[in-house]
């Protein structure tokens, strides 16, 4: 590495502090595997660092998010089907106010919904998962995915509709 790159290292470290959490969540939304997501985060920051002139990038978060999404999508393609259904995430989801019975039912339903999301086609699942992060606007998601904003909006809408229908069918069947 050149001397200028070494001199800019503290600045880059602050960049890592600021954006690593979001980049991790984007990677996890795509890969659904914590280890893969962490590898993606490291790889994304490494690529940005090695590319040089990263100080001149206007929206570095969007740039990093795009790299992370690409890497995660590639990794996902290599690894194939999602093996983790999201069951290990569920203890955090149960609301404290709910009764144990309701909580158990909600947990079961959410677990089932996560499985439904994982089964969605990738072109629907990825926009939905990124929008579900709650930190990215539709414009930013469109930039990350390299799609028009209208397409992203339509895909999120379609994905939600499919999930709602599946949920309704399940609830109608069980109730």
């Amino acid at each position: 590495m050149s001397d200028s790159a070494e001199a800019a290292r503290p600045l880059f470290d602050s960049l890592v502090e600021r954006h690593s959490q979001l980049i991790y969540r984007i990677a996890l939304a795509v890969t659904r595997n914590p280890q893969d997501a962490e590898d993606v985060v490291q790889e994304a920051f490494l690529r940005l660092y090695q590319a040089g002139r990263w100080e001149q990038i206007p929206d570095i978060q969007a740039y990093l998010a795009r790299i992370a999404w690409r890497l995660a999508a590639k990794r996902k393609k290599q690894h194939g089907e999602i093996s983790i259904t999201g069951q290990e995430f569920l203890p955090q989801l149960v609301s404290a106010a709910a009764s144990p019975e309701d909580s158990a039912l909600d947990t079961q339903l959410e677990h089932w919904l996560h499985a439904c999301i994982n089964r969605l086609p990738e072109k629907l699942r990825q926009p939905l998962a990124l929008s579900a992060l709650g930190e990215l606007k539709l414009v930013e998601i469109a930039k990350i995915l390299g799609l028009p904003e209208g397409t992203v909006r339509r895909r999120v809408h379609t994905a939600r509709k499919i999930l709602r229908e599946q949920l309704e069918r399940r609830r109608g069947g069980t109730l």
Partner: protein, 189 residues
């Protein structure tokens, strides 16, 4: 909004909650430290780049040299028959070199080259320009030099000078009277 009415009110709520919990997990503790460590490690291999670039440069130069050598070899072996002809031609040159040097001023050198090239043509059945050049190179530097002087000679016009008139000096015949004393016949009695 119509879709919201079609579904049960808590369906939408449940879906939102499920989506919010889809990727809620924070990374394992110390992610930033691990990223920084990875960056520090990755900075080291980049110092090896000059070595690899040297390796590439040397390898490519070696490859180019091999290709050039092969090309040169293929050019030299275009017509082995021509080489044999060259040998005949060069032997003639060696044989005639003494004579050529002795009469260099008197005999124009391009005539010799003409003769030489004519003999080559009879051997090689209309050789290409490249083959002629190869033959010329094989004949040695003397042939090239003589070709150059021949070109000069061709360029300079031949001056016709009148012959110097130098009348022959004929000594007049002197008539002497015959001596009466006969010559000694040598026959002593």
């Amino acid at each position: 909004m119509k879709e919201h009415i079609d579904f049960e009110p808590d369906t939408e709520d449940l879906l939102d909650r499920a989506l919010a919990s889809y990727t809620p997990v924070s990374p394992w503790l110390g992610l930033e430290d691990r990223v920084r460590a990875r960056l520090s490690v990755s900075a080291q291999p980049s110092r090896r780049l000059p070595f690899f670039s040297w390796v590439w440069a040397v390898t490519s130069a070696f490859a180019v040299a091999i290709i050039l050598a092969l090309l040169l070899r293929s050019h030299l072996t275009i017509a082995p028959q021509n080489n044999a002809t060259n040998r005949i031609g060069s032997s003639r040159i060696v044989a005639n070199s003494a004579e050529t040097e002795s009469v260099m001023n008197a005999v124009p050198s391009h005539s010799y080259l003409e003769r030489h090239s004519r003999s080559l043509r009879t051997h090689t059945h209309q050789p290409s320009q490249l083959q002629l050049i190869a033959q010329l190179l094989a004949s040695g530097p003397g042939a090239i030099a003589s070709l150059a002087t021949a070109e000069k000679e061709q360029q300079t016009p031949i001056e016709v000078k009148p012959l110097a008139i130098k009348p022959l000096e004929i000594e007049p015949i002197q008539i002497k009277p015959i001596e009466e004393k006969p010559a000694d016949a040598g026959g002593a009695l």
